[in-house]
C-alpha cells in the first residue's frame, strides 16, 4: 500500500503511519501533505479511495471532510469532481433505496458544508427535497401513507445530519434551517405514531399502568435534536477538526450541488383496503427498516452523563462499523473500541450489539455474526467487555418471561455458542434457583435449552463438568444416553426382534431396497400387519444409520424407498415421525435432523410434520421444551428456503431467456441479411465464399433458436413448480394456523375465562383486542405476578397459552412475506370473527397489521 493510501485509511487512528499518537491536526497535516504531492499523478485513484473510505469508515467523515476542504484550496477541480460523484451516488442510492448509502452520503455532505466545500443552502435544498417527499407520502390524498416507513427514513436522515453540522447551519442560515425544522414538526403532526407491539423484544406484560405512550424512533430522535438545539448544538461525540483550519477554509470555493430527485411512490391505489394497506406497509418496512430498537437493559447510571444526542451518535458509529466492517474481524474490533469520542462506552456498545442480535423481524446479518462480534470484543477488551456481556445476560435473563419467543431462541443459540468459545465458564450457581421453579417457568426452560445446545456443540461430560459448582443443575441436562433402539435385546416382542435381525442382515448382505420391499410385502406385512412392518423397518434402519449424520443419510438414500413404500400417506408418515421421535427420545438434535432429512427426501410432508407437532401428547410439551418448536421451525424454514430458491432460479432464467432471445434474433437477422444478398446476385454462379458462410449462419441461427426454446421451456417448468410450491405453502400455513387456533381456543377460554368473551361482541376490533389485553394483565395481577426474579407464579395453563401465543406471533412475523399472499383466505377460513381475540391479536401483531387501520 503506497503511503498516501495508508495515511488516508489510517487517519485518526493510533497507528504506525502516524507514529502511534492521535492528534487530529498532525494527522490532517501529514495526510494532506502526502495527498497533495500525489494528486497530479494519481488523481483518479485518490478520488475513488477517498470516497470509499468516507463511505465505509463513516465515523471518520469529519476528518475526511476537513482534508477535502484543504484540498479545495489547492485543486478546485479535484474537489468539484468529489462533489459531483457524491451527488451521483446519493441519487443512485435514493433510486435504489440503499438506506446506508443515503444516510452516510448526507452526513458526508454536511461535513463538506462545514469545510466550505458546498454552500449551506445546497444542503438545505436536499433536506427540503426529502422533507417534501416525506410529507407527500403520508398525505392521505396525494400520497400513500402505507409507505410511512420510507417517509420516516427520510426525516431520520435529515435529523441525523444535524449533530455533524447543526451549529454551522444555524449560524450561517438560521432562517432556512428554521424553515426545515418547522417542516419536520409539521410532518410529525401528520404522520402516524409507530406502534412497535409486533416488533418489540419485550412483551409488556408487566406494564399494567402504561399511561404514557412511548415515543417511536422518529419522535425520539426529534426530541434528542431539540435537546441538542437547546444546548447550542454542542455535543461531545462528533469531532470538529474543521475548526482547526477555519481561517484557511473560508477562502475555499463552494461548489454547486446538483438537484436531487426523490421518485414518487409509484404504487398509489386510490383506496386502500385494510389488507392492502397492511401488505404495502409490510413491504415498506422491509425496504426501510428501523435501524435499532433500544433494549434499555442497563440502568441509566451505566451511561454516565451522556447527552441523549451523544448516545444516538455513538449508536450510529457502532451500527456503521457493524455494517461496513462485516467480515474483517481485526479491523472491526479495532474500530469498535477506538471510536473518536472522549468518554467510555462499553455498556452502550454491548447494548447496541444485543439490540442487533435481537432485532425484529430480522437483524441485518445472521445472528451468528453477533456471536463472533462479541467474542472478538471480549478478546480486544479482556478487562472490560466480558463483565459487561455477563451483565447483559443477567439483565436479559431477569426479563426472560417477557422476552419475545424468537428473541429467546436467538439468545439461547448465542449464549450456548458464546460459552463454547470460552470453555463453558459461567456462574451457574446464580441460576440454581430455577430448579425450584415449575418446569414450565421460562427461566428454567431457558437454562435447560442452553445446556442442551451446549451439549450439542460439545459433549455431555464436558457440560456436566462445567456445572460442577451447581451439581443439582444436572437435572436440567438432556439425557446422556444414545438412541433407544427397540430391538437392542430380545426382551420384548420376539417376532419383531427376529424380523429386525433379519432386516439387519439383509442390509448387511447388500440386499437392495427392492428386495426389502418384496420381503416386506410377501412375508412380513401379510402376517404381522402394517404397524409391525413400519415399526421394524423404521427402528432397524434408524439403528443402522445411528452412528453419524452421514450414516443416516446413507441409509435414507439407500433404503428411503422402503420407507416411502410403507409410509405413503399422512397418517403413516405421522406414525413414522413418532417412531423417529421415540428412537431418538434422548437427543432433541438427532430427532430434528432425522425428521429434517426425511422431509428433504420427501419421505415426510411438511403437513404431516405440522399434524404430528400438534398431536395431543405433544401439545402438552409446548411450554416446557423447545424440541417440538425446533422441528416445526425446520419444516417451515425448509419450505421457505425451497420457495426462495425457486424464486431465484426463475429470476435468473428470465434473464437468460431475454439474452437467448436477443442472441437468436441477431443470428436470425444475420442469416436473413445474407440470404437477401444472395437473392440480389441471383442468376450469377455465386459459389465463391458464400456457401460455407451460409451454412454456418444457418446452423448458428438454428442452434441459438433451439437454445432460446430450451431456456424458455426450463423457465416454464420452474414456473409450474413454483405455482405448485405456492399452493403447498398456502396449505401449510392454513394448516398451521388452524392447528394453532384449535389448540388455543379451548385453553384460552379455560384460562382467561368468560370475562374476555363478554367484551368481544359489538365492539370495534381495536376495542376488543385492547380490552382483552387488559383482562390478560388483570389475570397476571390476580396471580400476583411481580417482577421479582424468584417470584414466578404464573400457572401452568397461563404459561402454556403465553408460550404458544408467543410462537404464533413469532411465526407470523418471520414468514409475513409468505403469509401475506394468502391473507384473504386465512381470514376467511381461520382467523375469523369467532377465534379467540388473543389469538387474533398474536397473528395481527406478528404481521404488523393493527386493528386501528
Amino acid at each position: 500500500m503506497s503511503s498516501w493510501r495508508s495515511l488516508i485509511l489510517r487517519i485518526g487512528e493510533k497507528s504506525s503511519e502516524y507514529g502511534g499518537v492521535i492528534d487530529f491536526k498532525d494527522h490532517i497535516d501529514a495526510c494532506f501533505g502526502a495527498v497533495r504531492r500525489e494528486l497530479d499523478h494519481s488523481e483518479d485513484e485518490i478520488l475513488t479511495f477517498l470516497l470509499q473510505c468516507s463511505e465505509q469508515l463513516p465515523h471518520k467523515i469529519p476528518l475526511y471532510g476537513t482534508l477535502i476542504g484543504l484540498l479545495n484550496l489547492e485543486n478546485e477541480d479535484f474537489v468539484k469532481k468529489i462533489v459531483e460523484s457524491t451527488q451521483k451516488s446519493l441519487q443512485d442510492a435514493l433510486d435504489t433505496g440503499d438506506c446506508n448509502k443515503i444516510r452516510v452520503s448526507m452526513r458526508f455532505l454536511t461535513v463538506l458544508m462545514c469545510s466550505k466545500v458546498i454552500q449551506p443552502s445546497s444542503l438545505v435544498v436536499i433536506f427540503e427535497t426529502l422533507l417534501s417527499s416525506a410529507a407527500t407520502i403520508v398525505d392521505d390524498e396525494k400520497g400513500n401513507p402505507s409507505w410511512q416507513a420510507r417517509a420516516d427514513f427520510f426525516i431520520t436522515c435529515i435529523l441525523s445530519c444535524l449533530p455533524w453540522g447543526g451549529s454551522e447551519l444555524v449560524e450561517q442560515i438560521p432562517e432556512e434551517i428554521e424553515r426545515v425544522m418547522v417542516g419536520i414538526e409539521a410532518y410529525l403532526s401528520i404522520r402516524r405514531h409507530v406502534s412497535d407491539v409486533g416488533l418489540s423484544v419485550f412483551e409488556d406484560i408487566n406494564k399494567i399502568n402504561k399511561l404514557h405512550v412511548e415515543q417511536d424512533f422518529v419522535e425520539d430522535l426529534w426530541s434528542r435534536i431539540q435537546d441538542l438545539s437547546k444546548n447550542s448544538w454542542k455535543l461531545e461525540s462528533v469531532p470538529r477538526p474543521h475548526l482547526l483550519y477555519e481561517a484557511q477554509l473560508v477562502a475555499g470555493k463552494s461548489h454547486d450541488f446538483g438537484p436531487i430527485i426523490c421518485q414518487e411512490q409509484s404504487d398509489t391505489p386510490v383506496e386502500l383496503s385494510r389488507l392492502n394497506f397492511g401488505r404495502q406497509k409490510h413491504e415498506a418496512e422491509l425496504k426501510y427498516p428501523q435501524r435499532i430498537r433500544r433494549l434499555n437493559i442497563f440502568s441509566a447510571s451505566k451511561f454516565e452523563d451522556l447527552q441523549p444526542i451523544d448516545r444516538f451518535v455513538v449508536e450510529e458509529y457502532l451500527l456503521d462499523v457493524l455494517f461496513y466492517l462485516n467480515g474483517c474481524r481485526k479491523e472491526f474490533a479495532a474500530c469498535m473500541v477506538g471510536l473518536p469520542v472522549p468518554f467510555r462506552y462499553e455498556y452502550l456498545m454491548a447494548e447496541t450489539i444485543f439490540s442487533q442480535l435481537l432485532l425484529l423481524p430480522q437483524p441485518p446479518f445472521k445472528p451468528m455474526y453477533y456471536t463472533l462480534v462479541i467474542i472478538d470484543l471480549c478478546k480486544s477488551l479482556p478487562g472490560a467487555f466480558p463483565a459487561v456481556v455477563a451483565g447483559a445476560v443477567r439483565a436479559l435473563f431477569d426479563r426472560i418471561s417477557e422476552l419475545d419467543m424468537e428473541c429467546r431462541t436467538r439468545l439461547i443459540l448465542w449464549f450456548s455458542h458464546h460459552l463454547s468459545n470460552f470453555q463453558f465458564i459461567w456462574p451457574w450457581e446464580e441460576w440454581a434457583y430455577v430448579l425450584e421453579l415449575p418446569k414450565w417457568a421460562p427461566q428454567r426452560v431457558f437454562v435447560q435449552e442452553v445446556l442442551d445446545r451446549e451439549v450439542r456443540l460439545s459433549y455431555w461430560d464436558k457440560v456436566k463438568q462445567s456445572i460442577e459448582s451447581t451439581p443439582a443443575l444436572e437435572e436440567l441436562l438432556p439425557p446422556k444416553g444414545g438412541p433407544d433402539f427397540r430391538y437392542s435385546s430380545d426382551d420384548g416382542d420376539k417376532t419383531e426382534y427376529t424380523l429386525s435381525k433379519e432386516l439387519n442382515s439383509m442390509v448387511k448382505g447388500r440386499k437392495t431396497a427392492r428386495d426389502v420391499i418384496i420381503w416386506l410385502e410377501e412375508s412380513v406385512t401379510p402376517i404381522n400387519g402394517l404397524d409391525v412392518s413400519l415399526r421394524v423397518v423404521v427402528q432397524t434402519l434408524l439403528d443402522i444409520g445411528s452412528k453419524s449424520f452421514t450414516h443416516l443419510i446413507t441409509v435414507l438414500e439407500r433404503y428411503g424407498q422402503v420407507i416411502a413404500k410403507i409410509c405413503p400417506n399422512e397418517e403413516t408418515q405421522i406414525m413414522l415421525i413418532s417412531e423417529v421421535s421415540s428412537f431418538w427420545k434422548n437427543s432433541a438434535q438427532t430427532t430434528a435432523i432425522t425428521i429434517d432429512r426425511m422431509m428433504g427426501y420427501r419421505l415426510i410432508s411438511n403437513l404431516a410434520i405440522v399434524k404430528w407437532v400438534f398431536s395431543p401428547s405433544n401439545i402438552d410439551l409446548f411450554h416446557i421444551t423447545d424440541r417440538l418448536w425446533e422441528i416445526l421451525i425446520n419444516a417451515l424454514n425448509k419450505t421457505h428456503n425451497r420457495i426462495s430458491d425457486l424464486r431465484k432460479e426463475i429470476s435468473h432464467l428470465k434473464k437468460s431467456v431475454v439474452k437467448a432471445e436477443q442472441i437468436a434474433a441477431t443470428a436470425k437477422a444475420e442469416l436473413d441479411n445474407a440470404e437477401n444478398k444472395l437473392m440480389l446476385v441471383d442468376g450469377e454462379p455465386v459459389v465463391g465464399e458464400n456457401p460455407a458462410r451460409m451454412k454456418r449462419l444457418k446452423s448458428n441461427a438454428e442452434k441459438t433458436k433451439e437454445n432460446e426454446v430450451t431456456t424458455r421451456e426450463s423457465l416454464e417448468s420452474k414456473e409450474a413448480l413454483f405455482e405448485r410450491a405456492l399452493e403447498e405453502n398456502e396449505a401449510l400455513f392454513l394448516s398451521l394456523y388452524k392447528n394453532f387456533s384449535t389448540v388455543l381456543m379451548e385453553r384460552l377460554h379455560e384460562t382467561f375465562g368468560e370475562k374476555t368473551l363478554d367484551h368481544v361482541g359489538g365492539d370495534s376490533e381495536a376495542m376488543a383486542v385492547d380490552e382483552e389485553d387488559t383482562s390478560a394483565m388483570d389475570m397476571d395481577k390476580e396471580n400476583g405476578n411481580s417482577k421479582s426474579n424468584v417470584g414466578y407464579t404464573i400457572g401452568e395453563k397461563e404459561q402454556w397459552c403465553l408460550s404458544t401465543l408467543g410462537y404464533v406471533k413469532a411465526f407470523s412475523r418471520q414468514y409475513a412475506s409468505e403469509i401475506w399472499p394468502h391473507m384473504v383466505k386465512l381470514e376467511e377460513e381461520v382467523v375469523t370473527e369467532s377465534v379467540h381475540p388473543l389469538f387474533r391479536k398474536a397473528v395481527y401483531s406478528g404481521l404488523r397489521l393493527h386493528a386501528d387501520q
Binding site: Q52, C53, Q56, L57, F323, Y324, L325, N326, G327, C328, R329, E331, K366, M368, Y369, L372, I375, L413, H417, N421, Q423, R453, L457, S458, Y459, D461, K462, Q465, N504, V507, K508, R510, T512, A513, R514, I544, K547, S548, F549, T550, H551, I553, T554, V555, E557, R558, Q561, Q589, T590, I593, M599, G600, Y601, R602, K638, N641, R642, D645, S714, S717
Partner: protein
C-alpha cells in the same frame, strides 16, 4: 461491503496443485463453491457437533469427514457442503478461528469435489493446514488442573469408527453394478437421484508447503453425484427436470 480491508478476488492463499485448471479457474471455483474445508479439528469432534455449529450459517447438504486411511477414524478435518453460496461465505466469515471442542478451527473455501479428485495415492493421515494453531494454542488456555481434566474427559470419549457396521461393508467393486440396478429401480419410482453409496474413497490433497496430505474420506454418493452438485435441490422433487437430466446421464 468492507472492500477496504480485503481483496475479494484473493479469497484463499492456498493453491491446491491437484486442481485441474489455471489459477484463474481455481479462483473462480473458490468464488462459486458451496463447499468449505474445516481444519484443526479435534479427532473426537463428531458430525453432529459440526452440524450444530455449521447449520447456524445455513442449511447443510452434506458433511464429509476426513478419515485416517488405516484406522478409519476421523483425523481432524472435514468438508461441509451447503446449498447456497451466501451461507458458504457466512460459514467462512463467522466460524473460522472460533472454537469447536476447545480448538480454534479453520474454515476455508474449498473448490469442491470433482470427478477423479478422490482417487489419489495414500500414504499418511493427518492434516496440515492449521495456521491458527500457533495463534490460539488450546494448551495455553488450558493449563494445570484444567488440562488434566480435559485430557481425562477426552479419553472417555470415543471416536466414531467409520470402518465397521452394516453400511461400511460395501465393497467398491460392487459399485457400478449396484449403481445401474438402483438407477433402474428408482426410475420406475420416478425419483432417480437416490442412487448413492457409502464408500471409502481415497482423497489426496496437497497444501502450500507441497507436503503430501493423504486422507481417506467417506464420501456419500458416487462421482456423478458430485459433478451434479449444484443441481442438487433441497428437496428431491418428483418429476423435477434436473433429476431427469441426471437420469439420462447416468443411464448412458
Amino acid at each position: 461491503m468492507a472492500l477496504l480491508f480485503k481483496d475479494p478476488n484473493k479469497i484463499s492463499a492456498y493453491r491446491d496443485r491437484r486442481f485441474p485448471g489455471t489459477q484463474e479457474e481455481y479462483e473462480n471455483a473458490l468464488q462459486t463453491s458451496t463447499t468449505v474445508y474445516i481444519g484443526n479439528m479435534s479427532f473426537y469432534t463428531t458430525e453432529e457437533q459440526l452440524y450444530e455449529l455449521f447449520s447456524r450459517a445455513g442449511e447443510i447438504k452434506k458433511i464429509v469427514m476426513g478419515l485416517d486411511k488405516n484406522t478409519k477414524t476421523p483425523c481432524g478435518f472435514c468438508f461441509v457442503m451447503y446449498y447456497s453460496r451466501e451461507d458458504t461465505e457466512d460459514a467462512v466469515k463467522y466460524i473460522s478461528g472460533t472454537i469447536l471442542d476447545d480448538r480454534p478451527i479453520r474454515v476455508d473455501f474449498d473448490w469442491g469435489f470433482q470427478d477423479g479428485r478422490q482417487w489419489g495415492r495414500g500414504r499418511s493421515g493427518g492434516q496440515v493446514r492449521d495456521e491458527y494453531r500457533t495463534d490460539y494454542d488450546p494448551d495455553i488456555l488450558l493449563c494445570g488442573y484444567g488440562k488434566l481434566v480435559q485430557q481425562e474427559l477426552e479419553e472417555q470419549r470415543q471416536v466414531v469408527d467409520y470402518g465397521v457396521g452394516s453400511l461400511g461393508s460395501f465393497q467398491p467393486s460392487h459399485m457400478s453394478h449396484n449403481c445401474e440396478f438402483m438407477t433402474c429401480l428408482f426410475n420406475d419410482l420416478n425419483s432417480s437421484s437416490l442412487c448413492t453409496f457409502a464408500d471409502f474413497l481415497v482423497l489426496q490433497m496437497e497444501d502450500m508447503e507441497e507436503e503430501e496430505e493423504v486422507v481417506v474420506v467417506m464420501v456419500m454418493g458416487g462421482p456423478t453425484d458430485m459433478v451434479e452438485e449444484e443441481k442438487n435441490p433441497r428437496f428431491r422433487e418428483h418429476g423435477d427436470s434436473d433429476d431427469e437430466e441426471d437420469d439420462r446421464k447416468r443411464q448412458k
